[in-house]
Amino acid sequence: MNTLFFLIQQTMFFTIPLLVVALGGMFSERSGVINIALEGIMIMGGFCSILFISFMQDTMAGQPLLLLAILIAMISGAVFSLLHAYASINMKADQTISGTALNLMAPAVSIFAARMIQPSGVQQIQFTNTFRIAKVPVLGDIPILGDMFFQNVYLTTYIGVAILIIAAILLYKTKFGLRLRACGEHPQAADSVGVNVYRMRYAGVMISGALGGLGGLIFVVTTSTNFNATVAGYGFLALAVLIFGQWNPWRIALAALFFGFMKTISATYSSIPWLVQLQVSGYVYKMIPYIATLVVLVFSSRNSQAPKAAGVPYDQGAR
């Protein structure tokens, strides 16, 4: 039983950053802007917020510090994504190229800035992890469920779940969501009924920036003791989750869970007795999420749910 609880707790460490970042990507692409800059945005978000934590951790600790760091991560991610938004919306640049530029720029900027800002002049930013919640009061005592979801967790897990619910409501139940989706499917039509396409696309990209930055923070806090200008390709993995999830928040959540679970299995199968007995190579578990993505792409390519206008710069004059 302990193994099961452990697996679920670890799966959350993988799933939540993927989920949050993929949801961010969803908002951007639903508004019609392809955002492959997620990796770079994660790095910038992680950089700013971890730097904040490292400067503030002498005066405060625990959840208040984490909440402030989350705010910083989201703001810095959103600001950084503005570069992508400006290039691809106002300047009508190729969105893949501007995204790549951001991905290349982010690690360089964060290394340079970390060295300039930190008194020690090093590129790694150390932080002390005071954010883990050993046990949520009351809820943690519930048998089984408490062990699974309310022990050994981070506040960010619940924030991730909240973001999922808010994202689904925002996208499907509000005027804003309808307009956003219209801009991604047929911006000319949206414009003809008075929706400001540029503004909606800016909103989409900035939401993706905020969530991407948050994802960067969650990623670093749960998996390392310092920030070293990298998020190990999880921004790109989040793109795979986004496609696997067919641009739908609930499917994205399932895809993130699936990816997270398979990643957990591939990394920890050596500690799970019955998996060791199966004698399956660890490589197989590692491959499964990617093979599954390919299979899903093959079967869904005909009726892909990808926003029709994603990647196409909107030109008002071409109406």
């Binding site: 302990n2 193994t3 452990f6 670890q10 460490f13 993988f14 290394i111 002049g121 090093v122 590129q123 790694q124 150390q126 992890n129 883990r132 050994n152 990623f219 749960t222 998996t223 390392s224 003791t225 310092n226 070293n228 990298t230 190990a232 999880y234 990643k263 957990t264 591939s266 990394a267 920890t268 050596s270 500690s271 799970i272 190579s281 660890g282 490589y283």
Partner: protein, 357 residues
């Protein structure tokens, strides 16, 4: 207006370039970094500190150069740059420099090369040649690993873990030394055979990833008490996992990593700075030992276990001194082969569970 701006820019550029020429002699001591940066808390940083120490004490100019990417061509380019910058001695930390230095040592016969952790050879490993202007420094990692394993078992741990990075010879020697150290301590303490268990894995990278964190967390969760994290940033993932559990520890590697996390109980160290310092001292003292390979071990303070900031529960400085002496006088025989399998080590007291990548 635009033209004027461009003109100004060009002028400014050429002026700064001229100013650069006027400076003359340049930097006498140079270090070319390998994968990672100058403050990687590992190889680059350790050797850079030694170089810096010598340079400031003896009033020499110094500079480091970072290759644009991790290829032989880029490393060679950085070496070219260092030579153009006036370098007389170039320090190249890491086995990745074996091929670039092989080429550079004949291209620049007047420049001295200090190659840490490797020996120059051609790309296909067919020819090994160390010219008179090159000094190779190797470390007895197995001794450092041995100390870590020995101390861990002496300190009362019975469930250990070894988390390596890429399975390169240096990492393998650390790992095998660790196992042999645990074996020796268990035998001394009269523990029953098979009483020490070790989880053993090479992650195949040198990065902090959730996979590495999860693997370590899994080991800790299933009973492992202390993990020897031997792969650069992989260690940070292991520390994150240790911090998320209670009463779990990490043994650091290469340099004293105590400041990175409260869970770091000690570190198996190579005295990188020391060896660079020694090499430079030899060069300026006209005792340049070119064409040779120094193997630094306990006999010349080349390896060791971090004790100043250690958090051992019972393993004391006296225990460490006895261990150090034991390795020195040959009481402990340590196999330093890296091309054998774990079974060939003939361990009795230690049961190893090898985890595939």
């Amino acid at each position: 207006m635009k033209k004027l701006l461009v003109l100004c820019l060009v002028l400014a550029l050429s002026l700064t370039m001229l100013a650069g020429c006027g400076k003359g002699s340049g930097f006498e001591l140079a270090l070319v970094t390998d994968l990672g940066t100058i403050d990687d808390k590992s190889f680059n940083q350790g050797s850079w500190e030694g170089l810096k120490k010598y340079a400031t004490e003896h009033n020499k100019t110094y500079q480091y150069y970072q290759p644009s990417e991790a290829t032989n061509a880029a490393y060679l380019e950085a070496i070219d740059l260092a030579v153009k910058g006036g370098a007389k001695v170039i320090v190249t930390p890491g086995f990745l420099f074996e091929v670039p230095v092989y080429m550079a040592q004949t291209r620049y016969p007047d420049v001295k090369f200090v190659l840490l952790d490797g020996e120059p050879h051609t790309e296909d490993y067919a020819t090994y040649k160390t010219e008179a202007n090159t000094l190779c420094i190797l470390y007895a990692e197995e001794q450092a690993g041995f100390m870590a394993g020995y101390a861990a078992v002496k300190d009362g741990f019975t469930k250990l873990g070894f988390q390596g990075g890429m399975a390169v010879p240096a990492v393998i020697r650390y790992g095998y030394g660790f196992l042999q150290g645990a074996e020796a301590a268990a035998r001394e303490m009269g523990l029953p055979e098979g009483s020490i268990s070790v989880m053993y894995n090479y992650s195949g990278d040198f990065a902090a990833t959730p996979e590495n964190q999860a693997r370590a967390a899994g080991w800790y969760q299933s009973g492992t008490e202390v993990i020897f994290a031997c792969g650069g940033a992989v260690g940070n993932s292991v520390m994150a996992a240790a911090e998320a559990s209670t009463g779990k520890y990490v043994i650091g590697v290469d340099v004293d990593q105590y400041a990175e996390s409260n869970t770091v109980i000690s570190s198996a160290m190579k005295m990188l700075g020391n060896s660079v310092y020694q090499a430079l001292e030899a060069y300026y003292g006209n005792k340049w030992d070119g064409g040779k390979t120094w193997v630094l071990d306990v006999n010349n303070d080349g390896v060791g276990l971090a004790m100043d900031n250690a958090r051992w529960r019972s393993f004391s400085k006296a225990d460490y001194d006895a261990l150090y002496k034991g390795i020195k006088d040959g009481t402990y025989k340590i196999n330093n082969a890296s091309d054998i399998s774990i079974a060939d080590l003939g361990l009795k007291y230690v049961t190893v569970t090898e985890v595939a990548d």
